[in-house]
C-alpha cells in the first residue's frame, strides 16, 4: 500500500512529529511504500539544521535525515510556511538577502501542491498534529 504523511506541529512542543516519525518507520518496516512526508504549518520546524536538543534527548531532526538517507524518503517542507517561520535553503537565503540558511540536508522546499499530489498518489494520507 502507498502511504503519505502530513506533519503539522513543531517537534518537541508536541508529540505529533515524533509519532509521525514512528509511523513512517513502521510503514517502511512493514514493506509498504512511503511516497512522501510533507511538513506544513509548524511542522516545518522539523527541517531546521540549527536545532540542538540536549544530548540525552532524542534528536528527531537527525532521525528524519537518517530515515531519508537510508530509505530514500521524500521529505518536503512547504515553502510558504517555511519562509515566514525562518527556515530557508541557500537559494532562498540569497534571494531574500538573509545572512544564513538552515534547511537540513535530506529536506527540500516545495509547494502545497506536493501535499495534494501526495493525496492523489497515496492510498492513505495520515495527518499528525493540530
Amino acid at each position: 500500500m502507498i502511504f503519505a504523511i502530513n506533519v503539522l506541529s513543531a517537534p518537541y512542543s508536541s508529540q505529533a512529529s515524533y509519532s509521525a516519525y514512528q509511523f513512517a518507520k513502521s510503514v517502511i518496516a512493514q514493506g509498504h511504500q512511503l511516497h512522501r512526508v510533507f511538513f506544513y504549518q509548524d511542522g516545518i520546524h522539523n527541517a531546521t539544521t540549527l536545532a540542538t536538543p540536549p544530548q540525552d534527548e532524542f534528536d528527531l531532526h537527525n532521525a528524519w535525515q537518517e530515515l531519508a538517507r537510508e530509505h530514500h524518503i521524500d521529505l518536503v517542507i512547504c515553502i510558504a510556511a517555511a519562509l515566514k517561520r525562518g527556515v530557508l535553503n541557500q537559494e532562498e537565503s540569497v534571494r531574500y538577502r538573509k545572512n544564513g540558511s538552515n534547511l537540513a540536508e535530506g529536506f527540500s522546499l516545495g509547494g502545497l501542491g506536493q501535499l495534494i499530489e501526495a493525496a492523489v498518489v497515496a492510498d492513505r494520507l495520515i495527518t499528525f498534529g493540530n
Binding site: L8, Q41, G113, I116, A119
Partner: protein, 120 residues
C-alpha cells in the same frame, strides 16, 4: 483518476494560523483538478462570519478569501449545522451564499464518501 478530498477546517480564524493555512491548502488543491470539498466545523464556523477585521491585529481577514473560494472552483462548501447552532450563528451572518448545511448524520456520510480527509 480524480480523488475525492475533503478539507476539514476546525479552528477559529485568528489566534492561530491553522485556519488561514487550511484555506491556503484548499486554494492549492483547487489547481489539481480533483474533487475537492471543504467543511467548516467546530470553531471553524467562526471563519464564515461577515464583517471581520483582521487588519486590526495585523492579519488578513479570512472572509475575503472564503468568499472568493467559488471562483477557484471550490464549489462544495459545507457547514456543520450543530456547530453553528452551538455558537448562535445564523445563516444571515455567513459570508458565502452557496453553502450546504450538514447535520451530524449528513456530515458522517460526507466523511464516508471521501478518498482522503485533510483535517486542519
Amino acid at each position: 483518476m480524480r480523488k475525492k478530498i475533503l478539507l476539514v477546517s476546525r479552528h477559529a480564524p485568528y489566534g492561530t494560523t491553522t485556519a488561514r493555512e487550511a484555506l491556503d491548502s484548499a486554494l492549492a488543491a483547487a489547481v489539481y483538478d480533483q474533487d475537492i470539498s471543504l467543511l467548516f466545523i467546530d470553531d471553524g464556523v467562526f471563519q464564515l462570519l461577515k464583517s471581520q477585521s483582521g487588519r486590526e491585529i495585523a492579519q488578513k481577514s479570512l472572509d475575503a478569501i472564503i468568499s472568493a473560494l467559488p471562483y477557484y472552483d471550490i464549489e462544495n462548501i459545507y457547514i456543520h449545522t450543530e456547530s453553528l447552532a452551538q455558537r448562535h450563528i445564523v445563516a444571515e451572518d455567513i459570508v458565502v451564499a452557496n453553502v450546504i448545511l450538514l447535520d451530524n448524520t449528513a456530515a458522517a456520510k460526507l466523511f464516508e464518501q471521501q478518498d482522503h480527509i485533510l483535517s486542519f
